[in-house]
Structure formats: C-alpha cells, structure tokens
C-alpha cells in the first residue's frame, strides 16, 4: 500500500527530470565544452533512477527487481556525482580540459563497471542492499551539500533574486536525501513522506528557474535597435 502511493511520486520525478534534461543540455550545446556535459548527464541519470524505482515498486515480484533496485542506487549516486563534477570544473581554466575529460571518462567507466557488478556479481556476492543504500545516501548528501555551497557562494558573490533559487533547490534535494536516510535507518514513515515532498519541491524549483529563463516575460534581452550599455558589455 505504502509502495503504491510512492509510484506517482516516482513518475512525476521522472517526468520533471526529463523535462529539465532538455534545457540542461543547452550550455553544452552552445559552448561544446565537456565540463558542462555533467549537467544533462546528472539529470538524465536522476530521471532514470526515479523511473527504475517506480518500476521496482510497481513490479515487486519481477524476477530482476533486486538488480533494478541496485541499478537505481548507482544511477542516483552517479547523477549527483556528475552534477558535482560539473560545478567543480565550471570555474577551472579551459587549459585544464584534460582533467575534466579524464574525470568524466572515469565516471563513465565507473558506471559501466557498476552495471557489470550488478548483473555479474562477484563470487562473494553483493553486500546487503539496505547497508549500501545508507552509505549511498550519505554520499549523495555530501555531493549535494558541495553543490549547494558552490551555488550559494556564486549567489553571494553577486546577490540577485534570480540566482537564489538554484541553491535552494539543491538544498531541498539534500534534505530529501537526508530524510530518506532517516527513513532507511529508523523506518519513520513521516521521514519518507517528507523525502518525497522535498524531492518534488526541489525539482519543481528547477522547473521554475527553467521557465523563468526561457519563457519568462521579462527576458534579460534588450529590444532590437535600442542601445543598452549593460546588456551589450
């Protein structure tokens, strides 16, 4: 019963992530710089992880449901890792592009190895899903806190109302992970509900920012043929 109530949340989260993915790829498409590829990859992996969780909740008796849950775990951790790496390299010099290429290659290699381990487990088998889930939640929180600090510093360096929303959304996602962690430790149902609400709220803030940027009525763009010193420099 509990699980059935979570399926719509997973579906909504998946849809939101794939909607965001469409816009997150734009910085990479414009600049063609590999350091920004982590943004769409991050939201893509996040969307896949929610879809996998929804699938695992719906088809509880499916033969590979355990493997699907493991996949979800890895996908979500890699999603936040890709996002954190993007923020880490966003301030680095272009001359260091070899570093970000190696890091992304390492992450992609890690994804491939993780998938192999799930479907071809080592001789000793995989550790308990619950234990690994708890560790992964902690890693996710660390990645999200790092991104929050990065975006908050960026906001504080030049405070503007429009740059405030993204640190908030990462913070909501971090609290969502923390709530999931509490639920995983003590099986407090309220913590699980809180985690779902925080996650949806965090993703909704991202959608709001995308809407404001690409469809907002007041765009940061001057009218054609009108000089605006600030806009042009």
């Amino acid at each position: 019963m509990e699980n059935a109530a979570l399926i719509p949340v997973e579906i909504v989260s998946t849809i939101l992530c794939f909607v965001l993915l469409r816009y997150m790829i734009r910085p990479y498409r414009l600049t063609r710089e590999a350091r920004y590829i982590g943004l769409p990859l991050g939201f893509g992996f996040l969307g896949v992880s929610y879809a996998l969780m929804g699938f695992a909740l719906y088809f509880e008796s499916f033969l590979f449901v355990e493997e699907i849950k493991w996949l979800q775990l890895f996908n979500q951790a890699y999603a936040f890792a890709f996002l954190a790496v993007t923020y880490y390299f966003s301030k680095s010099s272009k001359s260091k592009n070899i570093r970000w290429n190696i890091t992304y290659a390492g992450l992609v290699f890690g994804v491939a190895i993780s998938y192999l381990v799930i479907f071809e487990p080592p001789m000793l088998g995989l550790p308990s899903y619950k234990t690994v889930d708890e560790y992964f939640r902690l890693f996710n929180i660390l990645f999200l806190v790092y991104i929050f600090v990065h975006t908050m510093r960026s906001h504080l360096s030049k405070p503007e109302p429009k740059t405030f929303w993204i640190p908030l959304s990462y913070l909501l996602l971090a609290f969502g992970q923390y709530s999931s962690f509490i639920w995983s430790l003590e099986t407090v149902f309220v913590a699980n509900v809180g985690a779902q609400i925080l996650r949806i709220a965090g993703l909704a803030v991202f959608v709001f920012v995308v809407y404001q940027t690409f469809f907002g009525s007041k765009q940061a763009f001057p009218k054609e043929g009108i000089w605006d010193e600030e806009a042009s420099t």
């Binding site: 740059t163 920012v209 009108i226």
Partner: protein, 92 residues
C-alpha cells in the same frame, strides 16, 4: 591595471552579435564604434565579421545587420548565459 579575462571565439561572437543587435537600425554602423565596444583589434574584427557572414549570422547588404538566424542565435546565446548564471555556473 586590472587584466581582462581572455575571451574565446564564442564569447567574442556573442558580444559582437549583441552589439550589432542593439545598434540603431536607422544609422550606418561604424566599424570603429563596434571595435571599441567589442575591444578587439580592427583587423581581427574584420575577420570575425567575415566569419559571421559566412555562418549566415550577419549580412552586409546594404549595411551590416543581423539575419534572422543571427537574431535567433543571439537570443539563444543570451538565454543560455542567463541560465548558466542562474544555475551558479561560470562561463570563463
């Protein structure tokens, strides 16, 4: 004296197109003014303008102005830069 960060071609193209976009249509565009605004040497400015023309982003018939493709590009460029700023990403 504060050193300005180096701009890549994408940023120079973006700045150049933004300036051409807001240039009054009624006036003839003076290259020296564009050069001062973009802060690039005159010979390189001419090369960039040729490249932008080859890409179909500007036309010089009868005077230099943005094509529809150029206007679309600059809108996308400004939107994406604004999005990156909101996302807390720096484009250097």
């Amino acid at each position: 004296m504060k050193r300005l960060p180096r701009r890549d071609k994408l940023k120079i193209y973006g700045d150049l197109l933004s300036i051409l976009y807001v240039e009054p249509k009624t006036e003839k565009i003076v290259l020296t003014r564009i050069q001062l605004k973009t802060n690039v040497p005159f010979d390189r400015l001419k090369t960039y303008l040729t490249e932008l023309k080859q890409l179909g982003l500007i036309t010089d018939d009868p005077a230099i102005h943005l094509t529809e493709k150029g206007k679309q590009y600059i809108k996308e460029y400004q939107n994406v830069l604004d999005f990156m700023k909101r996302m807390g990403l720096t484009y250097t």
